[in-house]
Amino acid sequence: MSDYNFAYLDEQTKRMVRRAILKGLAIPGYQVPFASREMPMPYGWGTGGVQVTAGILTPDDCLKVIDQGADDTTNAVSIRRFFEKTAQVAVTEKTSLASVIQTRHRIPEEPLHDGQILVYQVPIPEPLRFLEPSEVETRKMHALEEYGLMQVKLYEDIARHGAIATAYAYPVKVEGRYVMDPSPIPKFDNPKLSMAAIQLFGAGREQRIYAIPPFTNVVSLDFEDFPFDPSKADHACDLCGASDSYLDELIIDDAGGRMFLCSDTDYCATRCAAGEVGAQRMTLTEGAA
């Protein structure tokens, strides 16, 4: 028995978060204002995601937390331990075993199934914020469905770089209505946003919660002659050989040596355990021996 209320937050706060989640699910892509609380971690470390997770957890849940795809980074480990301590929930690193997955900036490679919930940590929820700093104005633009500015921004990318240069936090249109920031996930992950799991987004500092129900139509913004391209490094994972996963580039020596490896550590480890071998795993293993 810990000295915290179940899942840390008090009941009135959880009710407020829960009401915001329900309205978010009813208006997919619309950012619902909520009275974000101070959490025992700094802004930028997932205070929004943590409040959403605290609002939805039950004692039966199995929680997975990832940061840029990895289960073993500081942010992921500390949030996982936070809920182990305050909600006594089971935790896992296996995507398929988790009922709730809190994520920073990635969607797991393994497709999520019906009944799972993906909670995103969101730094800036407003997709128009860097184009229009005024909240009054952006709110009006959402109300009037006035998204021309975003198309102009993408067009300027093409005029300047010859292609849409936005590589992460790539804007999407949800169910033909709201333009939404999918949080800074790589655009490689954008096609996965239409999925069987419930997706909840929490922005603590900006005090917004939004949601995408399962099987919702989510379209990445583009042009007919410059269609959306979910690009990734043109390489296979050097550890597990996967050619379909999002890769991190790792510098491994002072001589320009580098390797690519899956950003989703569970996906990579599962493939390695199944005997899949990438180009550099053998040399690494020999070097270690």
Partner: protein, 186 residues
């Protein structure tokens, strides 16, 4: 003072409310899905599911409208004691509670174009609730689902207001289904 209003709440509020909310969230995220709620014993004629929703979502920050069939002294006292929610007229309500013949008349906040979330959620008590009847399509539904709605035209009109509009929770005994404004009803 009568003491019935003191009974029938959650025994372990954080845990029971967590389970109840997950069920309500699933119902709202996947329209047509029927979930079962437990934990509350509200006074008749309030259904158990409606009572659980009130305990899970309502508090002093959420004005509640009680339609005439649910506006009894026992129910008023029970909601006031367990949640502290102010009881108000329909046009100021965040939650409405009653039969379809009462709540279907309208008069609830629909939200604004800039704040569509400031609309009411109606808890509609139905005599029966089954996954058969009107056809539902939209977010949360892979192909299509069916739900025994009390009528169709009102929900079509509500969906046309999107992104404004009302969201519905249908209750019958201890069972509940959701119908957000995004669902297309045929």
């Amino acid at each position: 003072m009568q003491t019935q209003s003191l009974d029938g709440g959650f025994h372990n509020a954080p845990i029971e409310a967590a389970y109840a909310f997950r069920a309500v969230m699933r119902a709202m995220a996947c329209p047509g899905t029927i979930v079962t709620l437990a934990g509350a014993e509200p006074p008749a004629p309030l259904s158990r599911a409606a009572g659980v929703v009130v305990l899970t979502l309502c508090d002093p920050e959420t004005p509640v409208y009680l339609a005439p069939s649910r506006n009894t002294a026992a129910i008023r006292d029970w909601i006031t004691f367990h949640t502290g929610a102010p009881l108000v007229a329909a046009d100021r309500a965040a939650f409405g509670l009653g039969l379809w013949s009462e709540l279907g008349q309208g008069g609830f906040p629909l939200g604004t174009a800039e704040y569509p979330d400031r609309s009411a959620t109606l808890i509609v008590e139905l005599p029966q609730l089954a996954a058969a009847g009107a056809t539902l399509q939209g977010p949360g539904i892979e192909t299509s689902a069916e739900l025994s709605l009390p009528e169709i035209a009102a929900f079509q009109a509500n969906a046309r207001l999107f992104p404004r509009g009302l969201d519905y929770l249908f209750t019958c005994g201890d069972r509940l289904a959701g119908l957000p404004r995004t669902t297309k009803v045929r």
